[in-house]
Symmetry: C2
Subunit: 140 residues, 2 copies
């Protein structure tokens, strides 16, 4: 399951895609609009900024804004940034790989199935972008 943090990240990003034209948006505005604890959201937006997806501006008239074309930000990128690995096992993770000491990856049946699962996931999560979760419209 995705953490609350990742879920909030998607909600906030979706909101910022909607308001992309309007310049910086206040944390407090997003928090209120999406029903997220403001302080918690603060930390999330900061992570998204450090991850190169958002920009920010301090002081009056400040806030957060997208610095990427929504079509250029796959959902996988957000998930990895906030929650880490997408794969079900470390030994089949592309970005967080760790060798499996209890099995031989070439012949391990579990490894092979989990690699298949990973590929099926990535096929979707690498191709669907912020623009896609936007298009169908996120209400509330």
């Amino acid at each position: 399951m995705l953490s609350k943090k990742a879920q909030y990240a998607f909600h906030a990003l979706s909101y910022l895609v909607e308001r992309a034209e309007e310049g910086p948006v206040l944390i407090s505005k997003i928090a209120e609009e999406k029903g997220i604890s403001q302080k918690f959201l603060e930390a999330i937006l900061l992570e998204l900024k450090r991850g190169g997806i958002l920009g920010s501006k301090k002081g009056k008239g400040g806030g957060y804004y997208l610095i990427k074309d929504p079509n250029e930000v796959p959902l996988a990128r957000v998930i990895r940034l906030i929650d880490g690995p997408i794969a079900l096992l470390p030994c089949v993770s592309l970005n967080y790989y760790e060798r499996c000491d209890t099995c031989d990856e070439g012949t391990c049946g579990l490894h092979n199935v989990m690699a298949e699962v990973r590929d099926a996931n990535l096929k979707i999560l690498e191709n669907k972008t912020l623009a896609d979760i936007q298009r169908s419209g996120l209400s509330a």
Copy 2:
């Protein structure tokens, strides 16, 4: 990611599929063979028993054994039993569904993508069984 518990469960089940002909297998034997803490494995096997996948026999000559045809136990069943939901969001989970209070499921873009991910996962995890992770051979 799958928990260690679920990973150990798969290793243990794989071992029991291998030794299906030999009658009850000792926890200690599986633990030693697979390099799992015996007491921790004890709890896992008990869960698998309560979940209707394993049977057990107490006393001398006792141990754990499969009570299902390996072909009849999808990997999804083991994951759900040990780790819970397979879906990435509660609002797209088939077995652990929870309504999403922040979005309308019909039009929420995130919901729709995550449902797609769930389907892709289940297509694999509901069709691959204990027999499948066995066939290719799990070494060590």
